[in-house]
Subunit: 341 residues, 2 copies
Amino acid sequence: MTRFVLCAGSTETAEIDGISAAGADSAVMAHTPSADAEILTYGEPIRSPVVPVSPSGCPTPAALSRVVLASLDVDLTVVDAGLQRPTAAPTVTVGARPGEDIRESDPVSTAPGAFAAAREFGRALPDDEVFLAETIPGGTTTALGVLEALGEADAVGGVSSSLPDNPLERKREIVTAALASSSLSPGDAAGDPTVALRRVGDPVLATAAGIAAGAIETDTAVTLAGGTQLLAVAACLRHAGYETELPVATTTFVAEDPAVDLEDAADTLNLSISAMDPGFSDVHPAEAAYLAGEAKEGVGMGGALALADRLRLPRSEIRTEFRRIADRLTERTKPIAGDDR
Amino acid sequence: MTRFVLCAGSTETAEIDGISAAGADSAVMAHTPSADAEILTYGEPIRSPVVPVSPSGCPTPAALSRVVLASLDVDLTVVDAGLQRPTAAPTVTVGARPGEDIRESDPVSTAPGAFAAAREFGRALPDDEVFLAETIPGGTTTALGVLEALGEADAVGGVSSSLPDNPLERKREIVTAALASSSLSPGDAAGDPTVALRRVGDPVLATAAGIAAGAIETDTAVTLAGGTQLLAVAACLRHAGYETELPVATTTFVAEDPAVDLEDAADTLNLSISAMDPGFSDVHPAEAAYLAGEAKEGVGMGGALALADRLRLPRSEIRTEFRRIADRLTERTKPIAGDDR
């Protein structure tokens, strides 16, 4: 059996202007992981008062992952990896709390505890295989923080972005300030990923790394379903001494991002990386937004496409259903009046 | 689409000696709903340090419901309706807290809030149909409390039990004391189910009634999957003014319980009740325990059998797989050493 595990959480780092497009503005963005979890579980937002779309209206990659999971016999489990807002999706608790801005000195104090509880959860999973996915606005910046602290940022080249114009210089500045606030230099956390996760990371990375560690220890195959954030998880696992095979399934949008060097990352971290192409065209506005470089990846989009290929779910069916969900989501982009949870 | 919703929670009423067999002793019983949720989700306990079996070794009905849900394309959602212990099953939060002993004056102070949040959740569910199930040790006693407070206890005749010898007189004494501690006489809460749920009920009944109410309001078909506890939910819905069709799917073990009069309940509450027979035999000890009157129902066992019939999953396949899970569970009945969560 294959299980798709979504780690959904938050970091206040996302509130820094201009680093994420995972929501129309920062108030809406706080709801994005909760809404993503609902879309993956139910096909639409249930309790979340907002719909996760970018400022230009590009719908969340959860729409595509939902299409695949609803069509295949794959179990879904959402883990609360530090959600800021309520969700009606059922979630597993590992003690993660929302992360603070990584320029604070101890922004993810729950990282060690969440890693440990997530590891126990990963050890206990009865599945043959897990796909690990993430949703956390601002997550590429905290991923860069972790990669820098581990001394692996050069290997990856940089990190991807949900924005067409990746504000990579801005992210580097934030990470530099974050390392300084924790009195760390690049590479100082090498061999000690929990330090990197706690001081300059986020609760989603800590949770995902913990689940992966536990799964690996009990011979459950792990596929990292995502882009540069999952590369940061891979780096944590390597620095924790896990030497097993680690497939990464991401999208062609990440592979084509000039800010990222997947080949270098694959070599340095010993990963087999697949870049999956959803076959989008300019005909539909949601697909066109992805082709223009928005969103790119998230909520296990690349992993979902890899599962679809393995189980022979045709791309054309996926796209038809994706357009239907995307249309329904963009119709609902206005917050519910008076609801300010 | 059909969704199977398990409301999992607790009441300290279960700690009163001799009223429940949902666990080997009262320390173990506190874990039963958390473990049931895990068995339904994963096929085995994950985080729970105990396995829900009766003192004589009869495995939880979750084993049978798991078999059906794992075989069919039915979505599962577990709602935290006041769990006392951690669970690794993903759960939806509605603000329910564990219920106190109903002989306290305000044992379920979260009942009105949980009902309201559960109702919103039920309204938002995108499904055509939901099956509502429960797991809560001591739940038949609190169900009797609610039925008495609503003035419907005579209609049902009494309540069922997870014990072969139903301690009905003991339950009546407890309910009499519970009503007295809340200054209620039988029937005093007629037309006001929230009072009954809060003063002499439990958080699972409040949550299940809320979900049903919301689902009904949005034209989602509701099947009450359970025995006398779900009859108490039906009574709450009737007393809240919901007049829609309400099918109840339970087991033949409940139907054959002399303490219960399903026909009277069906007449009085205007219900269509189906009693499903798993076709157990004395050959396997787990099946023999059910035939001897243990457990009887719970975790939606009767509803799962009804779903299996509708989707043509043969009884023989269900029993084969049930025996396999039951064997695995009874092998694991000892608590994990040193784990005392």
